[in-house]
Symmetry: C2
Subunit: 547 residues, 2 copies
């Protein structure tokens, strides 16, 4: 790093998270935050009220004795209370530690101990998990249930408090300290798709710069007229930053609480006039399945912003042709803010041919300013962005992790870059496409087969609801692809039909050696295909069913 002797004569103001909510409370005081509550009703208030309750909560956190740097955990759905917690915890200089309740109980206990979290804010639906693991928690001092006072459950845990009681008598104003922008603000663990979850500890600076990029025209392109419904959970990578980006942009926020069904989504979209959705592909598959059964329409929805997994061409087309909704691809990971790549609907893209448009929508898009990306070979040498060469994707930037929390293993962080574990191609325009995970790629006779490519094509068959390709053992080629298919409700389909469909669309030697119909596929808590499990289950399939 070049340090010149001459520094600018500029004010040293920190980039800090609480400033986002302060800004929203002043500039968009009456913009709404709507929550489908676990209590059963729909809660509505505005940024001004949200800010005031956040101040009340900050006093409450002080009353609990929470110190700067301390980790405060949550096991909670997307709600206004969870949002207040985000801002109050980071605002007093403590660290918001969002825990994914969908993980195994042992993993949750391990994570809470690893983080040394001292207080846990919990939704009533996840209380049972804590009751189960409480004896193992080494650092937790108490639990705060995020529910109305009159619905507090019988205490089965020591030191159980009510969230509303904690706020009740406090002042709706707070003297927020200025916080060094490098201070930790948010702790999230990865999904555990490829192994044990690892902690990513983000700073105030990283989250503010990420929020600015996220709301900007090259990422989610939010503004005062946007009604944003994040269907990605606040317990996983901060709902992709929605609780920070939406107030910064002045957007209306719609929180679905514990609702993840197609019916809940479709109802909220219609009743709250949702214009932009945020979530993994399976969520939009769920919504589509519901809409086609219920024959309902979602006229206000303009865009779904979709990441966490590759965008299947079938769904991209369906959303365009059936719903007139732009499917906006996103790429990110827990280690990267998470948002880095996207392809919002610019005039440039919308004026291309439909075919070209769909091609772009099934890439991951292009990186926003503030991050840089490249693909490299096994020796970390940069590879060309020619749309053909495959390499491991590396990224760096303001909101990218430089190491895992309390973890000395730096193998994922070579030379100032993050090695993502994703195998990708980048085309000359900069559009990147993940072709596989390094761990999922199929090594057939020394060559690589991309499981994602085959999945994408198979998913376009009208009878296919979801497709999954894994590499399984083969006596001659080491590994060969096995294709698992969940058919659409009420549809049947046979192996030859799928093979015919794939023929000519993939290289001949990529053709799966077997195709199996299954009722469902296993997913992680964040909606990703759990290929590790499937590989274990099917690893000997070809050996045992040799034709």
């Amino acid at each position: 790093m070049l340090t010149t002797e001459l520094s600018g004569n500029m004010m040293q103001r920190p980039l800090q998270i609480i400033d986002i909510l302060r800004y929203a409370a002043t500039r968009y005081p009456h913009q709404e935050i709507v929550t489908r509550r676990l209590e059963g009703d729909r809660h509505r208030y505005d940024y001004q009220a949200c800010y005031q309750r956040t101040c009340q909560l900050a006093h409450g956190l002080n009353q609990l004795g929470i110190q700067p740097g301390e980790r405060v955990a949550s096991l909670a759905w997307n709600t206004y209370r969870h949002m207040e917690l985000y801002y109050a915890v980071s605002g007093i200089g403590a660290v918001m530690h969002t825990v994914n309740p969908r993980l195994f109980e042992e993993q949750i206990a391990w994570i809470l101990n690893h983080a040394e979290s001292t207080w846990v804010f919990v939704d009533i639906s996840f209380l049972a998990i804590l009751e189960q693991i409480a004896p193992e928690l080494k650092h937790v001092k108490g639990f705060i249930v995020m529910v109305d006072e009159d619905q507090m459950p019988d205490p089965k845990l020591n030191n159980l408090y009510n969230y509303e009681t904690l706020l009740a008598s406090n002042a709706p104003a707070y003297e927020w300290p200025d916080i060094d922008e490098q201070s930790a603000a948010l702790l999230c663990y990865t999904s555990g798709t490829t192994g044990h979850p690892k902690g990513v500890l983000a700073s105030h600076r990283a989250m503010v710069l990420h929020a600015q990029a996220t709301m900007g025209k090259d990422m989610l392109a939010l503004d005062e007229d946007t009604v944003l419904m994040p269907m990605v959970t606040m317990y996983h990578v901060a709902a992709w930053g929605a609780p920070y980006a939406a107030p910064l942009a002045g957007s209306k926020l719609v929180f679905s609480g514990d609702g993840t069904s197609g019916e809940v989504m479709s109802e909220l979209i219609r009743q709250e006039q949702v214009s932009v959705g945020l979530g993994v592909p399976t969520i939009w598959l769920t919504l589509h399945n519901h809409l086609s059964e219920s024959k309902q329409s979602i006229p206000t929805l303009k865009r779904v912003c979709v990441g966490g997994a590759a965008s299947p061409l079938g769904l991209v087309k369906t959303y365009d042709q059936v719903y007139n909704v732009y499917w906006q691809p996103i790429w990110g990971m827990t280690e990267t803010g998470p948002l880095v790549y996207s392809a919002p609907p610019t005039r440039d893209i919308l004026t291309r041919t439909k075919e070209e448009q769909y091609r772009i929508q099934t890439t991951a898009g292009r990186p926003v300013f503030g991050s840089e990306a490249r693909i490299v070979d096994l020796d970390n040498n940069p590879l060309p962005h020619d749309g053909e060469t495959r390499g491991e994707l590396q990224v760096r930037g303001h909101w990218i992790a430089s190491q895992y929390f309390r973890n000395d293993d730096l193998t994922s962080f070579p030379g100032g870059w993050l090695a993502t574990g994703d195998i990708a191609v980048i085309d000359p325009e900069g559009f990147m496409k993940v072709v596989d995970r390094k761990k999922d790629v199929i090594k057939s006779g020394g060559e690589w087969i991309s499981s994602l490519d085959i999945e994408n094509i198979a998913s376009q068959h009208p009878a296919v609801n979801e497709a999954c390709v894994i590499g399984v053992k083969h006596p001659k080629w080491d590994e060969r692809p096995l294709l698992l298919i969940v058919p659409n409700a009420g549809k049947t389909i046979d192996e030859t039909e799928i093979k015919d469909f794939l023929t000519g669309k993939i290289a001949r030697w990529w053709m799966p050696d077997a195709i199996l119909l299954v009722e469902q596929l296993p997913h992680t808590g964040t909606g990703k295909l759990l290929k590790t499990d499937l590989r274990t289950q099917y690893q000997n399939f070809l050996l045992e069913n040799a034709s």
Copy 2:
């Protein structure tokens, strides 16, 4: 500042200026930069070519021996070469020092010496200034003329080089160093409206954060479809950051070279399909005067973004009603990036009544995220934002100066804020309006009269081209207002007519004691009324012309 023991585990990437151009060269390689050249022709190239020439120039700067931290000056118009210089100088870690050639020669020499600038890049039109002051320049090692090689003038200065020669044989790629984001990047001196120019030294961090805010939806709202013509000069507060914000947004840039006439602007707007203009009110008055004489139209223009002085209601209305152009107010000063306040055309504003819309357009707008503002009384106590109370405007934020360059006087920087010297009111929605400069306010019998308010109203009279109110000596009231008017071409007007027009629109005791018709009013190099000069000239007017 609260420093917690726990820092985030995030990469430490600097916010640096060169990354903006690198981003544009990759993401918008073929977006255009068009320049009306001093050589007489129109030059066109794209961000990719701009980046390549910037690399060539960086090698050239190394060949001149320029070191990190060194100040490199320019006396130049808005051109692609000046833009290359901005990026190359800051990119190698040196400081881009833009000098306003409209200042007096003594001031220019004083500024170059004060900054200890070592090399001066100069447009042919300003060479004579340097020839004049060269003997006084204590630190300058040489001059580079920004002109085609075959148009180099006869050398009257020692160490005179040609810009194109400096670039010619160098490689179009450069290994930019990572630069500490607090390093100085840009040095600008104030307009000298209220006294001697003072230097403001901005850091890389400040300019990148400013660029992001500037391109964002709450400030200039630029995107790939914008064609931006900055009519504010690159020699004054970096053309309000346009050379940074436009590439970040992927906008087409139109540089008018030495052209400032209505004819040049109108031609460029039509031929280059300019959609957004940037400049002080007088520039848009000039354009309007030209258009109404020449009967030409400017159909592509959607917005003019106007700061540096209050927005006169007359022009706001004219641009709306005659040209269908949204007049977007901006407030800023050299010390503040410069952009802080604005009111872009959101749906919220456009759906209000016309009257309310115009009211907002004649405020300065609201502050963008990254800056904070308040009004205070003489003891620095915050005053209410009630739309009535007047106080001095104070601002703070990421791109606000904390002191002047090489200047120990901190009186303008009380308690971490910048005291702007502007007297303002802020309404409950946050819209701020400058009612006067602290030095221009008229103290009549112990009460304040706002010169800007009267000017605004007077400017709406159909026969008035420009209006200026100053406080002049009065035997009984200390000071009383004097109104100077430049009538529209071919129009006449008398004192009673104006008085009638003002009656009922201003407080009775604000009525100017005298109204004078003048042929023109003096402006600073950046288009502001030079009231200091007028006050000197007219100070005894009422005493000598007592009625």
